[in-house]
């Protein structure tokens, strides 16, 4: 028998036992919690600075978030709902493209074919595109969930949250501490380097801290991956042109709590609306190449006369670091990359990163070698690029306004790795079977569904629309009516919140 010398290479990899998470925002906390809960033998400490501010924007999540918290990490629903006080969202409502609006959910609207129908749903959705899934049917009627036995909301399926950042952070901090994560208050002074690796972190308190692995969750500052290691930053500027946001909001009075995030087309960008229980948060994301801060503010106020908080302007750059795991540093959250919150991807991407990091440690007995690091960097990299391209679709096909900004977006936005998928769509239409094979990479997150939701939602034309016979159309509408009828009897966010706060409520 012959042995393979190449295979002895991994033997020298040291074991990761102690992890230091730098940064105490939602990314740092999710990283610390995920690592600790999935690998309890790890010594996880987190250092966060109370001197440095947090962005502190209200967060919208995707359906990955509750699944990660409750299923993967086993966090108690009772505690989370009590402390973090989230509201629910079933997706995003887009005031976008030629339709008055369209909805994107976390279920399947277009990567599906109703039983007995000759074509997938997208072919019938050129006109009316409502009620193709349970979630969108609920959103359409401002309901959060369908009603179950005894009139109780059925809180399951692919739902997500709106959460106020400070509540989320406090709640996760308490859970992390209880899970054995050691949290310390300190501010980074500098990183001590040796052989291209981090040897120790020096803090303002004079403390010098070491670990086997450093998780850089320092947000935009990217203290380790960017400043200390100087990893190249890959800009997304050929796809995403916005670089600023103005954020404000008001106390909720009589507005219903909507079961979705709203994304509204603005003259030089777009505006989100996030539904907290007692507060409505709005943010105008724009491109400083096309509008001044003052003019953006003016448009923001004009369209949101209720804003009472003093709006703040946040600058950002879209892009990602080429590698997010370099030597003994792994960057997560905003330190690993950033895109605007158009699809509420921030927490989902953070969770994706934390999960793969925890898995990489688990399957290697905490001795990740070059192969594991390269694999991690590849799949995190393609996930970032998928988000970039997904958002690019939003810009490329939004023909709602003819302002210079939107004209520029339609002309200049690159669809990146998904150009081929668009070209095939142009020819065959919303056909998930064929389009699946035009997805550029595996694994992917949004699948054919995400891209079709944008293409069909914005009525992007294709060569041969399907001409449904009246009978076929009728059959299709019957299926939609069935979905709609379950949604009609649903409960609103407010009703669902009331229900879970009753002493008799039990989480399953």
């Amino acid at each position: 028998m012959v042995s393979f010398p190449e295979n002895d290479a991994g033997a020298a990899v040291p074991e990761v036992r102690r992890i230091l998470v730098l940064g105490g925002g939602s990314a740092g906390l999710l990283a610390a919690l995920t690592l600790k809960r999935l690998n309890p033998a790890l010594d996880v400490q987190m250092v966060r600075s109370t001197e440095l501010g947090v962005i502190g924007v209200g967060e919208g999540t995707t359906a990955v978030f509750p699944a990660h918290l409750f299923q993967t990490l086993g966090i108690s629903k009772e505690e989370f709902y009590r402390e973090a006080q989230p509201t629910w969202k079933q997706g995003i409502r887009f005031l976008w493209g030629p339709r008055e609006e369209f909805l994107y959910d976390f279920e399947f609207q277009y990567d599906r074919q109703f039983p007995g129908m000759p074509k997938p749903t997208g072919y019938y959705a050129t006109g009316d595109c409502t009620d193709l899934s349970q979630a969108t049917a609920l959103m359409n009627r401002q309901k959060a969930f369908t009603t179950g036995p005894l009139g109780k909301p059925l809180i399951k399926g692919q739902y997500a949250f709106h959460i106020e950042n400070h509540r989320l952070v406090e709640c996760l901090e308490a859970i992390a501490t209880r899970s054995g994560v050691v949290i310390t208050d300190d501010t980074l002074d500098h990183a001590e380097m040796a052989d291209g690796q981090v040897a120790a972190l020096h803090f303002k308190s004079g403390e010098r801290r070491t670990a086997d692995l450093y998780v850089d969750a320092s947000g935009f500052r990217a203290e380790l991956i960017g400043k200390a290691l100087d990893e190249p930053f890959e800009s997304f500027s050929d796809a995403l042109f916005c670089d600023r946001a103005v954020i404000g909001g008001w106390e909720r009075t009589d507005e219903p709590i909507l079961p979705y995030t709203t994304a509204e087309t603005m003259n030089h960008g777009w505006c989100w609306q996030i539904e907290h229980e007692t507060f409505i948060n709005r943010g105008y994301v724009y491109s400083s190449n096309f509008v001044s801060d003052d003019d953006a503010l003016a448009e923001f106020f004009e369209k949101n006369p209720k804003v009472t908080t003093k709006p703040r302007v946040v600058k950002f750059r879209s892009g990602r670091y080429q590698r997010n795991w370099v030597g003994n540093v792994v960057a997560v959250g905003n330190a690993s990359g950033f895109v605007e919150p158009l699809e509420a991807t921030a927490l989902a991407q953070t969770i994706y990163e934390c999960r793969w990091l925890a898995e990489s440690l688990r399957v290697t007995g905490c001795r990740p070698d070059e192969t594991n690091v390269a694999f991690y960097n590849r799949i995190i990299g393609i996930a970032w690029d998928e988000i970039r391209d997904f958002l690019a679709f939003h810009y490329k096909f939004n023909n709602r306004l003819d302002t210079p900004f939107w004209k520029h977006c339609r002309e200049a936005t690159s669809l990146g790795n998904y150009e081929g998928l668009y070209q095939l769509y142009r020819e065959v239409g919303p056909n998930p079977v064929l389009l699946f094979h035009a997805l550029p990479e595996r694994p992917n997150i949004y699948g054919v569904e995400g891209f079709l939701a944008m293409l069909v939602g914005m009525q992007v034309p294709y060569d041969r629309p399907h001409d449904a016979a009246p009978q076929e159309r009728e059959m299709f509408d019957r299926q939609r009516a069935q979905i709609a009828s379950a949604a009609k009897g649903g409960v609103t966010v407010k009703q669902a919140l009331d229900a879970i706060r009753k002493p008799s409520w039990q989480w399953t």
Binding site: M1, V2, S3, F4, E6, N7, G10, A11, E359, V363, T364, G365, R367, D369, T371, N372, A374, F375, R378, I379, G420, Q423, L424, R426, E427, V428, N431, V433, L434, H437, A438, R442, P443, D463, R464
Partner: protein
């Protein structure tokens, strides 16, 4: 090509490739006119026959609607549960078609101990039996986990009959030329055949694709290391029928053995730098034990057409590419081509444009390249022999799309995480087949998870159950005899 509606397809070729393609297109697309152009004077197929995978039996039954009778009485196939490979670090391993290592710790457990009983198929093969006993006088034909070994002439016969039953227009003739606008096939008898698209199923000659100018080729020399083979068919005599296909490592290449009812197909693959044709043939004849046999020599050109579908001509099966018969995937590969062709035609309402064609080519290329890499690991990790040929093979065999999957396996072993590293989903083979091959080959990996005592115990008890099932199972001869005697071999066949 432009998007005009495809109403008439000509399938050209004279063997299994063409007959299967024509019958399948006709049955999957009932509105399509299918003309089969075949040349009865074409050289007969290699009598040595071939083994196949479960996907082929499924295709014959579900896509072509063939019944047990059609298959067993006319095709006289022999069931195969997988492979016995004298190969890799273990020296010998079984790879069954029902291997399932992608979840939990089963891959790690099997890699350590009990690979021979890691699935019902493996246990049956290791015991030399075919199907489990069912009561006192019957057996369970587990046809979902078996491939079939066919003699090519008999398989071609079944498929040609299927063409006729399904309403394929069968026409004989030889291709003389191909002209465009309008796209027309010229025949040697002076007539011509026009159609909307043409399926080139003429085998490795790829006559139609070559005439149409589609010659760009990607070679697999750095993955499929042998380039010649010799085959003989010998009489079985009284030797029992093995429930598997045998692969043997030889000093200068490798040998395969395909079971038929009354005969045995043997093949020897080699690289001409390491052994002469005469020596290789002599070795094969000596192995067959019958000096009167004359081996048939094959020159292999492993690789694929850069684009299987170019203009109005679609190359399928051997016309589209070729790899060595190390994994019995030839017909499964052909089925993938025909299925996707039917699918693209159906999904595009019979009007496939350039992008649909490109999507088809991408799917087909990826499947070929997966097959290529699958062969590459059999060379790269065969440490069963240390001869100059195998030293060359291990050094030469390179991975392309699947290099990450293999590198990751070398790090973390048969972990469920590996499925995320498959470049296509589900692909030609699927993660279970990849894992079964790498475990079987004994590809070493660096990280071994701790497996709890209860898990180990559960595994051992499952292994024991499978061993027991195999011990009481029924040998191939009895099953085959019963299937051919019974009018309907499913679902239960009574023993004679």
């Amino acid at each position: 090509m432009t998007s005009r509606s495809v109403q008439h397809v000509v399938v050209a070729g004279s063997g299994t490739d063409a007959f299967l393609a024509a019958a399948t297109l006709r049955r999957l697309l009932p509105g399509l006119q299918v003309t089969l152009l075949h040349d009865p004077s074409a050289p007969p197929p290699d009598p040595v026959g071939e083994s196949t995978t479960p996907a082929v039996l499924q295709h014959l039954c579900t896509a072509l609607g063939l019944q047990g009778n059609d298959i067993h009485l006319r095709g006289r196939p022999v069931w195969t549960l997988g492979f016995k490979a004298q190969w890799g670090a273990r020296g010998t391993f079984f790879r069954s078609f029902d291997a399932s290592f992608a979840n939990g710790s089963s891959g790690f457990l099997a890699a350590d101990d009990g690979l021979d009983v890691s699935s019902p198929g493996c246990a049956l093969m290791a015991a030399g039996k075919l199907f489990p006993r069912d009561g006192a006088n019957a057996f369970k034909p587990l046809e979902n986990i078996t491939g079939l070994n066919f003699r090519s002439d008999l398989l071609a016969g079944i498929l040609l009959r299927a063409c006729q039953t399904l309403g394929v227009t069968v026409r004989t003739g030889r291709i003389a030329g191909f002209t465009r606008e309008p796209d027309t096939l010229q025949l040697e008898d002076g007539e011509s055949l026009a159609a909307d698209v043409f399926v080139d199923a003429t085998g490795s000659e790829a006559r139609l694709s070559n005439l149409a100018g589609n010659t760009a080729w990607i070679g697999y020399e750095d993955a499929c290391v042998t380039s010649r083979a010799a085959t003989v068919l010998r009489r079985r005599g009284s030797e029992p029928i093995r429930p598997y296909t045998t692969l043997e490592t030889l000093a200068t290449g490798w040998r395969w053995r395909v079971e038929h009812d009354e005969s045995i197909g043997l093949g020897h693959a080699w690289h001409p730098d390491f052994i002469s044709d005469d020596e290789a043939c002599a070795e094969l004849v000596a192995k067959a034990g019958d000096p009167t046999l004359t081996p048939r020599i094959h020159h292999w050109n492993c690789g694929r057409r850069r684009e299987a579908w170019s203009g109005p001509v679609i190359a399928v099966g051997d016309a589209s590419g070729f790899v060595e018969p190390l994994a019995s995937l030839r017909i499964q590969q052909l089925i993938l081509h025909v299925h996707w062709l039917a699918r693209v035609l159906a999904e595009s309402d019979g009007q496939p444009g350039d992008r649909s064609r490109q999507a088809y080519n991408r799917i087909v290329s990826q499947a070929w390249d997966e097959n290529r890499d699958f062969h590459a690991i059999h060379y790269r990790f065969n440490t069963a022999a240390d001869t100059p040929f195998w030293q060359m093979a291990r050094a030469t065999a390179a991975l392309s799309d699947y290099s990450e999957l293999v590198a990751l396996y070398q790090s973390i072993g048969p972990s469920s995480l590996l499925a995320n590293s498959l470049p296509t989903w589900p692909g030609l083979l699927g993660i279970d087949t990849w894992l079964a091959a790498m475990i079987g080959l004994g590809v070493p990996f660096r990280h071994h998870p701790e497996i709890t005592a209860p898990e180990k115990k559960a595994w051992e008890s499952q292994c024991q159950q499978r061993r027991q099932l195999a011990k009481q199972a029924v040998p191939a001869e009895l099953c085959i005899g019963a299937a051919r005697r019974a009018a309907r071999p499913q679902p239960r066949v009574t023993l004679p």
